[in-house]
């Protein structure tokens, strides 16, 4: 029982990070119908900037802010300089360009920072509190929950309660009509990329201290889990991304704990196959269910 409780909290904590990362993928998918395979590399770049800023100033939080800002800037740059010029008549074009970006970003990071794992400290203790003799959560886990919860809440408010959110949704669903109504569709697309990349950077900041360290490819495995989470939830659905992230996190935790850590990635792939067979659009994909 104790192990179950521990694994559950551990899974939710990991899952929260996947949820944030999946949310970033969903944001871009909804805005541009592109699966941004470069999301992981962009997030790692932001974490490297944070690493440099933290080393130079001694402040984790300055580094944290730098990572988010880097995310915003990278998102705008990638959309304005690269993706805007990709021919979107075939969905594969965007994917190939994104994969190319991965190679470029990882290569540049390797040139500047080297290809060793750099140790990154967590801002809070990662030792779990004990509740009645059971190790439950660490301060760092709490930080992860608060950060991801705040992002989900802020994005929900943005999309459902603000004029900008309404413009962004309209621009994504019906670009021509939105333009006729005075919405700058290109601007909304850029904003979508900026927000998504910032959320991706946050996920990178949260996950890197819990893994081996900072490396140009540090987010590759996280990307696979988060991509699975997004597809399981339905690429169109922000709620689906969050639920999918938590499901993937729990699955990884349970399989690692009860079976064997090395088979955990296979369990994720199995989940992906089962969901794609049973509900190809994802668990939350039905547009009828999405009362906007």
């Amino acid at each position: 029982m104790n192990e179950f409780i521990y694994l559950t909290f551990d899974g939710l904590s990991r899952g929260a990070v996947y949820a944030a990362f999946a949310l970033a993928l969903v944001l871009i998918w909804r805005a541009a119908r592109i699966v941004n395979f470069a999301q992981g590399a962009m997030a790692v770049a932001a974490v490297y900037v944070a690493y440099s800023v933290t080393n130079a100033t001694g402040s984790y939080w300055l580094g944290f802010v730098a990572a988010i800002v880097t995310g915003l800037v990278l998102g705008v740059t990638v959309e304005r300089v690269v993706m805007r010029f990709v021919d979107h008549s075939s969905p594969l074009n965007g994917v190939v360009v994104a994969l190319g970006l991965v190679l470029v970003i990882q290569g540049v990071l390797g040139i500047f920072y080297g290809n060793e794992f750099l140790p990154v400290a967590a801002p809070f203790s990662r030792d779990a509190f004990e509740l009645g003799g059971v190790a439950v959560l660490s301060r760092y886990d709490l930080f992860v929950f608060v950060a991801v919860g705040a992002v989900v809440a802020a994005l929900t408010l943005l999309f459902t309660r603000t004029p900008v959110g309404l413009r962004m949704r309209a621009a994504a669903f019906a670009p021509d009509v939105s333009r006729l109504l005075g919405v700058s569709v290109g601007g909304m697309l850029t904003l979508g990329w900026a927000l998504a990349a910032a959320v991706g950077s946050l996920a990178g900041m949260l996950v890197v201290p819990t893994e081996l360290g900072l490396h140009p490819t540090a987010m590759d495995v996280v990307f696979i889990s988060a991509f699975t989470a997004a597809v399981v939830g339905g690429l169109d659905s922000p709620i689906g991304a969050v639920v999918g992230g938590l499901i993937v996190g729990l699955l990884l935790s349970y399989v690692s704990g009860y079976v064997e850590p090395t088979v955990a990635p296979m369990a994720v792939l199995l989940l992906l196959v089962v969901v794609l067979l049973g509900k190809p659009g994802g668990l939350f994909s039905s547009s009828k269910a999405r009362v906007a």
């Binding site: 004029p163 309404l166 413009r167 949704r169 309209a170 669903f173 019906a174 021509d176 009509v177 939105s178 333009r179 006729l180 109504l181 005075g182 919405v183 700058s184 569709v185 547009s287 009828k288 999405r290 009362v291 906007a292």
Partner: protein, 239 residues
């Protein structure tokens, strides 16, 4: 001529190499309803899409209220006073009725003014007021047409480009929409460029008719004259 709200001169436009519109001339006076008629593929929808900038013109001139619209971006048209209700209605089906309507007024800086325009549209279309929180896909065809029209009216345009408002609607609903357009014209001086397959109902409210055939204007005349000219009706309008 100089008092015209919209003046189109020698307009040529199309998709890719082959032009769809050839040397189109027409004018719309303030408060005038002009019907654009013609067979499928005559270029009616392309004409409206070119006027609002969705299709780029390759030649000619479009002057709205004394301002040359060449180079004006689509997003700016609503600010100039041009509302375009596209073919197939263009309701954003994923958004609610209220969100669709608010979208029509988001370009306004003056929030109070936008709110006032929104309330007026709800007054004009009571069925929409009862369905504020319904998603677009839950509405009937007639309600969607009301929503698309209402959304354009939230922008308080001086010229409305209306593409096939009767498409797929019951004759009674079409009649209501035509009556509403006439009423709006009387009360607010709204000018309408109306593209219609339903020639009878279009000519019943229009002041002028323009007949397009293969992208060229073949007839421009008073609507009453078009209604009464049997040869013309047979030749171009099929009734």
């Amino acid at each position: 001529m100089s008092s015209a709200l919209l003046e189109v001169e020698g307009l040529t436009a199309g998709y890719g190499a082959a032009p769809v519109l050839h040397d189109v001339n027409l004018t719309v006076q303030p408060g005038e309803i002009v019907a654009v008629l013609g067979a499928n593929g005559a270029g009616k929808t392309t004409l409206l899409r070119t006027l609002s900038g969705l299709v780029r013109s390759t030649g000619g001139k479009v002057v709205f209220d004394g301002v040359d619209l060449r180079g004006t971006r689509v997003e700016q048209m609503v600010r100039r006073g041009i509302g375009h209700v596209p073919e197939g209605r263009g309701v954003v089906t994923e958004l609610t009725v209220d969100e669709n309507l608010r979208l029509g007024g988001l370009w306004r800086k003056d929030r109070a003014e936008a709110k006032k325009a929104l309330d007026e549209v709800y007054e004009l279309f009571p069925p929409l007021a009862q369905r504020r929180t319904f998603a677009g896909h839950q509405l009937s065809g007639g309600e969607r047409q009301m929503l698309a029209l209402g959304r354009a009216l939230v922008g308080r345009p001086r010229l409305l480009l209306l593409d096939e408002p009767s498409l797929g609607l019951a004759p009674k609903v079409t009649g209501q929409i035509m009556a509403l357009l006439r009423d709006l014209r009387e009360r607010t001086g709204l000018a309408v460029l109306l593209v219609e397959q339903n020639v009878r109902s279009a000519l019943s409210i229009a002041d002028e008719g323009v007949v397009l055939a293969l992208g060229r204007v073949v007839v421009r005349n008073k609507a009453a004259t078009l209604r009464d000219d049997a040869d013309l009706r047979h030749a171009y309008l099929g009734f």
